[in-house]
C-alpha cells in the first residue's frame, strides 16, 4: 500500500516536471495528455487507498525522509492516509483529473498551454502534500505550495495590464495574484504561530502525538493554538475579513477557478479544522466562534452574489458562502458533516465552474450575464450540467447538496443554535435564488448576445464527457451519505442527532426545501424572460451599490491598508531613511570635515600664531598633568 501512497503523491509532481520541460515551447498536445493521464493515475491510486482503508479500517503511514532537524525539532516527510485523508485525496484527484482533461479543451488555443499544465499539476502535488502530511509542518508545505500555485495560476495571463476598479474589479490578473498571495500570507503567519505554540508546548508536530497529548495543555493554551490555526484556515478558505482575494482570483483561467478556488484549495481551511478536531472539540467556545463566523460569511457572501453580473464572480461568492456552511458545521462539532459537504460541494461547484468555462468560451470570454441569455439552445449539455450543479447547490432533492446542506442545518438545529440555523436557512433561499438567477440569465430569455456579434457553440464532446463524472456525482453522491458516515466516523467523532432533532428532521427538510424552491421560483419570474438592465436602479439604489461594491470592503482595504502602507513606505524611505538615518551618518562625517576646515585656519603660516598655539597646548598639557597629580 505504501507504493500507492507514493504514486498518488508523486504522479502529479512527475506530471508537473514533465510539463515544465516544455514550458517555453509552443503548445504540445502530448503534454496535456501525459499530465492528464498521470493525474488519473494518481486518482486511481487514491481510490485504491480509499478502498483499502475502507476494507482494513487502518491508516497507511509512510515516512519518506528527514527534513528539518534542529535542537529538539525533528520533522520528517511523513505521510499518513487515514479516512479523512483518503476522502480528501479522492476528491482532490477526481476534480483534478476532470479539470486536467477539461483544460485540454479550454486552453487549446492558449500560447502557454504547456506552462499551464505544469502549474496545474504542481498545484495537485501541493494539495496532496497538504492533505497527506502527518505533521503540521508538512501541512504547511502544502499550504504554502498551493498558495504559490494559486499565485501562478491566478496570474497566468500576467501580461494583461492594470485597469481601474470600475472597469475590472480585480484590476489585473497579476494584481489579483499578488493580493491572494499576500492575504494568504497574513493568515499563514497565524498558522505558523500556532505551529510554534504546538512545538514549544508539546515538543512535536506530528498529528498523532500532538492530539494524544493535548490534555497536558492548559485550556488557555489550547484556545490560543485553536485561534492561531484557525487564522491560518481563514486565509486559505477566504473567510471574512480575509475574503476579498477569492473573488479577485477569478482572473485566473476558469479551470483553475474550478479546481483551486472552488473545489480544493479553499477547502483546505475546513480540512485543517476537521483534521484538528481533537483540539477544537476541547475548545467549544472557539468552535462556536468558527460557526458564527462561518454563518456570517455564508449570508454575507450570498448577499454579494445576489446582484453581481459577472458569471464567475457569482460562483466565487457562492463558493465563499458554501465555505461558510462548512465552517459552521465544523465549528459546531459536526466534523463529518463538514467533510461531507466539502466533498459534495467540490463536485457540484467544480462542475458549475467548468460549465461557466464552456459559456465563456462560447461567449468569447464575455462574463457579463446581461449580455448572454438564451444559450440553452446552442449549449444543451452545458445547460444540463450547470442546471444539475445549480440544483445541487440549491439543495434540491435528490442532488448531493440536498443531503449535505440539510445535515448542516440539522446540526445547527441540534445544537440549539437557532440563530445560526435561521441564518443558514435563509441563506439557503438566497443560494437557490442567485444560482438560478444565473442559470436563467445565461440560458433563458432573449438572445442578448447578438449585440456582441458572437456565435455561441457547444464545447467539444470530450470536454463534455470529462464533465460527466462530476455531474453524476453531483446527482448521486448524496445517496452515499450512510456509507460515507460509516467510513469517516471510524476516524472522526460521530455526530449523533438528538432524538428531538430526529423527530424534527422531516419538518426541517420541508422548510429548507421550501425556501430553496421559493428562491428558484422568484429567480424564474424575475430573470427567465426579457431582461434589461435598469441603469437608473443601479445608480440610485443604495443596497444594490453596497452589494455590487462588495460592501466597499476592497476599497476600504485599499484606503486603510494598501495606500497608507505605500505612503508610509515612501515616508520611511525618503523622510526617515534618507533624511534622518543617512543624513545623521553623513552629518557626522560633515561635522568632522567642518572641524577640519575650521582648525585649518590655525595653519595661517604665521610663526607667531603657531607659537601661541604651541604655548596654549603646553599650558593645557601641563594643567592636565598637574591636575591628575593633584587629584591623585
Amino acid at each position: 500500500m505504501e507504493n500507492y501512497v507514493y504514486i498518488a503523491l508523486f504522479a502529479p509532481l512527475v506530471s508537473s516536471l514533465f510539463a515544465a520541460l516544455f514550458a517555453q515551447k509552443p503548445k504540445i498536445q502530448l503534454v496535456g495528455i501525459v499530465t492528464s493521464v498521470l493525474i488519473i493515475v494518481s486518482l486511481l491510486a487514491s481510490l485504491t487507498l480509499l478502498l483499502h482503508i475502507e476494507e482494513t479500517g487502518k491508516a497507511v503511514s509512510v515516512t519518506l525522509m528527514d527534513w528539518i532537524q534542529a535542537g529538539d525539532m525533528d520533522i520528517k516527510f511523513g505521510f499518513t492516509v487515514d479516512q479523512v485523508t483518503a476522502v480528501m485525496m479522492s476528491v482532490v484527484t477526481l476534480v483534478s483529473s476532470v479539470v486536467h482533461v477539461y483544460s485540454n479543451y479550454y486552453m487549446e488555443s492558449d500560447r502557454s498551454f504547456n506552462r499551464f499544465f505544469s502549474y496545474l499539476s504542481a498545484f495537485v502535488f501541493s494539495m496532496m502534500i497538504l492533505v497527506m502530511s502527518d505533521n503540521f509542518l508538512g501541512l504547511f508545505i502544502g499550504w504554502e505550495g498551493v498558495g504559490v500555485c494559486s499565485w501562478l495560476l491566478i496570474g497566468f495571463w500576467y501580461d494583461k495590464k492594470d485597469v481601474t476598479r470600475d472597469i475590472n474589479p480585480s484590476i489585473s490578473p497579476s494584481w489579483a495574484a499578488n493580493e491572494a498571495f499576500i492575504m494568504n500570507r497574513i493568515a499563514d503567519l497565524g498558522m505558523l504561530v500556532g505551529i510554534f505554540m504546538i512545538y514549544w508546548n508539546l515538543g512535536t508536530l506530528k498529528y498523532s502525538e500532538v492530539f494524544a497529548h493535548l490534555d497536558t495543555l492548559s485550556h488557555g493554551m489550547l484556545v490560543g493554538i485553536g485561534i492561531a490555526l484557525f487564522i491560518g484556515a481563514m486565509g486559505k478558505s477566504a473567510q471574512f475579513p480575509l475574503h476579498t482575494w477569492l473573488a479577485d482570483a477569478m482572473e485566473g483561467p476558469t479551470p483553475v477557478s474550478a479546481l483551486i478556488h472552488a473545489a480544493t484549495m479553499v477547502t483546505a481551511g475546513v480540512y485543517l479544522v476537521i483534521r484538528a478536531n481533537p483540539l477544537y472539540s476541547q475548545i467549544p467556545e472557539v468552535g462556536y466562534f468558527i460557526a458564527v463566523l462561518g454563518t456570517f460569511v455564508a449570508i454575507f457572501a450570498a448577499s454579494m452574489a445576489l446582484v453581481n453580473r459577472d458569471l464567475k464572480r457569482v460562483i466565487a461568492y457562492s463558493t465563499l458562502s458554501q465555505l461558510g456552511y462548512m465552517f459552521a458545521a465544523a465549528g459546531l462539532g459536526a466534523y463529518w458533516v463538514a467533510l461531507f459537504h466539502l466533498a459534495a460541494h467540490a463536485f457540484f461547484k467544480a462542475l458549475l465552474f467548468v460549465g461557466a468555462g464552456n459559456v465563456m468560451h462560447a461567449m468569447h470570454d464575455e462574463l457579463d450575464m446581461f449580455k448572454m441569455g438564451g444559450l440553452k439552445k446552442q449549449m444543451k449539455w452545458t445547460f444540463l450540467y450547470m442546471g444539475v450543479a445549480s440544483l445541487a447547490l440549491s439543495g434540491i432533492y435528490p442532488f448531493a447538496g440536498f443531503f449535505s446542506k440539510d445535515t448542516i442545518l440539522e446540526a445547527a438545529f441540534n445544537e440549539h443554535t437557532y440563530g445560526i440555523w435561521f441564518v443558514l436557512w435563509f441563506t439557503a433561499g438566497l443560494t437557490a435564488f442567485y444560482s438560478f438567477r444565473q442559470v436563467f440569465m445565461v440560458f433563458f430569455g432573449d438572445e442578448r448576445y447578438h449585440e456582441l456579434g458572437v456565435h455561441p457553440h457547444e464545447a467539444k464532446p470530450y470536454a463534455l464527457w470529462a464533465m460527466a463524472p462530476l455531474a453524476v456525482l453531483a446527482l448521486i453522491f448524496g445517496f452515499f451519505k450512510e456509507d460515507f458516515v460509516e467510513f469517516v466516523t471510524k476516524f472522526l467523532p460521530a455526530y449523533e442527532m438528538s432524538e428531538h432533532t430526529e423527530h424534527m428532521v422531516w419538518i426541517l427538510t420541508i422548510v429548507t426545501t421550501a425556501i430553496a424552491l421559493t428562491g428558484i421560483i422568484i429567480a424564474y419570474f424575475k430573470y427567465s424572460k426579457g431582461l434589461k438592465r435598469n441603469l437608473e436602479f443601479e445608480k440610485k439604489n443604495k443596497v444594490y451599490n453596497l452589494l455590487i461594491n462588495q460592501y466597499y470592503i476592497p476599497i476600504l482595504y485599499e484606503k486603510t491598508f494598501s495606500k497608507p502602507y505605500k505612503e508610509l513606505s515612501e515616508i520611511a524611505w525618503k523622510e526617515i531613511d534618507m533624511e534622518i538615518v543617512d543624513a545623521g551618518v553623513d552629518g557626522i562625517a560633515k561635522a568632522v570635515k567642518v572641524m577640519g576646515d575650521e582648525s585649518r585656519k590655525m595653519q595661517n603660516g604665521n610663526l607667531s600664531s603657531y607659537l601661541k598655539w604651541m604655548v596654549a597646548g603646553f599650558i593645557i598639557v601641563t594643567v592636565v598633568s598637574l591636575l591628575t597629580v593633584v587629584i591623585k
Binding site: K612, V615, A616, F618, I619, T622, V623, L626
Partner: protein, 186 residues
C-alpha cells in the same frame, strides 16, 4: 651675603631681559641681553659652578653675542623695529599663565626631595677638575658629537651666509663665472 648677591643679580637679570624682550631698538635689546648673560655667569659663580660660569662668560657673552653683533651688520639695525602687536593681551595671558604654572611647580615642596644624584662628583676635587673628569669619561661621546655638531654648524653658517639671494645652490654653481660676476658688479 649670598642672599644679597642672589637678589641683586636676579633683579638685574630679569630687568635686563625684560628690556631685551620689550625694547624697540635692536641694539638696546642686544646689549641688554649681553649684559644679562654676563650677570647669569655671576649666578653660576654664586652656586660655585665655576666652570659653567666661565663658559657662560666666554661662549655666550663672548662668542654668541659677538656673532649676533656681526650678524646684525647685515641688517639695518639702527632702525627701530616696527611691529604689529595686535594681541598683546593674549601674549601676556599665555606667558603669564605659564609663568604661574612653572613657578607653582618649582615652588612645590615635592620638588627637590625626590631628586637623587646619578653621578656624584668625586670628593676633593674642585668644580673645574670634576667637570673635566666627567666630561672625558662619561660624557666623552656626547662631547665629541657636540664638537662635530659645532663644526657642521660653522660650515652651515658660512655657506648660508655667503649664498646669493633668489638663487638655489645649483644655480650658484652654474653661474660661478667670473665674467658674470663682473657684469653684476657693474
Amino acid at each position: 651675603m649670598e642672599a644679597i648677591a642672589f637678589y641683586t643679580f636676579s633683579i638685574l637679570i630679569t630687568g635686563l631681559f625684560l628690556v631685551t624682550v620689550f625694547s624697540r631698538n635692536i641694539l638696546y635689546a642686544m646689549s641688554s641681553l649681553a649684559a644679562g648673560m654676563v650677570l647669569i655667569s655671576g649666578l653660576f659663580f654664586i652656586m660655585r659652578a665655576d666652570f659653567l660660569g666661565a663658559v657662560q662668560l666666554v661662549v655666550y657673552s663672548g662668542a654668541i653675542m659677538a656673532l649676533y653683533a656681526f650678524g646684525m651688520m647685515f641688517f639695518d639695525a639702527t632702525r627701530d623695529v616696527k611691529e604689529k602687536n595686535s594681541s598683546a593681551s593674549s601674549v601676556f595671558l599665555l606667558s603669564g599663565i605659564s609663568a604661574v604654572i612653572l613657578v607653582a611647580i618649582f615652588a612645590a615642596p615635592a620638588i627637590g626631595e625626590h631628586i637623587k644624584p646619578l653621578v656624584t662628583a668625586a670628593k676633593g676635587l674642585d668644580n673645574t677638575q670634576a667637570i673635566g673628569e666627567i666630561l672625558f669619561t662619561k660624557y666623552l661621546i656626547p662631547f665629541e658629537v657636540a664638537a662635530v655638531m659645532l663644526l657642521v654648524a660653522m660650515v652651515a653658517g658660512i655657506v648660508l651666509a655667503s649664498k646669493k639671494m633668489d638663487q638655489s645652490l645649483s644655480e650658484i654653481y652654474q653661474d660661478a663665472d667670473p665674467e658674470n660676476e663682473l657684469k653684476e658688479q657693474k
